[in-house]
């Protein structure tokens, strides 16, 4: 698919899956979408391995925008991008935006065929500067 992929990373699998449900319902199926949540051992947290898997699943040649909740999700997402390495890492951005609104807005922008840069900019507009 040529639309920018969206990855949702929350400490809670319920939050991640619920956010993905909202994106699917509000935006539809034209956007590659994947989510992950939890530490991989049944607890709250985020897993670098799971994030790498979600990026693979939502991969698009147009790039992937990642939406995260708390600090650890951001750190682990940045680590996952680094471990995926070049050249794909250049086409993955961890967005600075609220997770639910950011995911819906980014996916909406992506569904219209926008570039990764435009998708990320739309998500970033939601952040208080």
């Amino acid at each position: 698919m040529s639309n920018v992929g969206i990855v949702i990373v929350s400490h809670s699998p319920l939050v991640a899956e619920g956010t993905a449900d909202m994106v699917r319902q509000m935006v539809g199926d034209e956007v590659p979408l994947a989510w992950c949540g939890g530490n991989g051992h049944g607890g709250l947290g985020t897993s670098v391995e799971a994030i790498m898997g979600a990026i693979d699943k939502a991969w698009s040649d147009a790039g992937v925008a990642i939406l995260v909740d708390l600090g650890g999700a951001e750190t682990n997402s940045e680590m996952a991008v680094e471990m995926i390495g070049e050249p794909r890492s250049h086409r993955i951005v961890v967005c600075n935006a609220p997770i639910v609104e950011g995911a819906v807005m980014a996916a909406t922008e992506s569904s219209g065929g926008a570039s990764l840069k435009e998708v990320v900019a739309t998500a970033h507009e939601l952040s208080p500067s």
Binding site: N39, G43, L44, G45, S47, V48, G72, E78
Partner: protein, 199 residues
């Protein structure tokens, strides 16, 4: 470094984390999300399982393997932070480092951890232990003096106000508790120092 020595270092690190897991969790419950001890124990036990395979590699590769394993198994933000520390050490260290080579590599590794956590010294984090350890190393201190410096540095995070991580949400209320990451860093430094002294 001989493979047996690296295996001993891994065992010493995993032992001290396991022995202090409950204490680390209690520290994290006070100002974080209460999973630090368990997370670190899971990570270092995973490293222990593969200690012999890691130890068979040249030192830089062995350290990178330890770091990658921690990233993948610790869970929580400590995984990338401690993982980055070991991965960066592996990247910077020569195969047979002397003290100045070790100090230079640790300096670079500290920069990598600071970049990963978007943090700096003085914000009540593991960096507040790593930096004094780096300084003690460059000043030619003995292994036991370095371990003592690490303990004192962890202790010195008690009156600090957290500016990074989940503890930062507590603001002033983070004052009066030792940072869990600083404590686990000091534990690791002591384990390494005491093992190296015996080699």
């Amino acid at each position: 470094m001989a493979a047996a020595d690296f295996s001993r270092l891994i065992a010493a690190a995993a032992d001290t984390i396991a022995a202090h897991a409950e204490e680390l969790t209690a520290l994290d419950q006070a100002i974080g999300d209460g999973d630090h001890g368990l997370n670190m124990k899971r990570g270092f036990e995973a490293v222990r399982t593969e200690a012999d395979a890691f130890a068979a590699k040249p030192l830089p590769e062995a350290l990178k393997a330890v770091g990658t394993k921690l990233v993948m198994t610790v869970g929580g933000a400590s995984g990338p932070l401690f993982g980055t520390l070991f991965m960066a050490l592996g990247k910077e260290l020569p195969a047979a480092p002397d003290r100045s080579g070790l100090a230079a590599a640790l300096g670079k590794a500290i920069e990598a951890v600071a970049a990963r956590g978007k943090s700096q010294v003085g914000q009540k984090t593991m960096l507040d232990v790593l930096q004094p350890v780096y300084e003690a190393l460059t000043q030619g201190k003995t292994a036991s003096e370095i371990a003592d410096a690490a303990d004192q540095a962890a202790e010195a995070t008690v009156p600090m106000k957290a500016l990074r991580g989940r503890a930062s949400f507590l603001g002033e209320r983070s004052i009066g508790h030792m940072d869990a990451g600083a404590r686990s860093t000091a534990l690791l430094v002591r384990a390494v120092a005491e093992t190296v002294e015996g080699i």
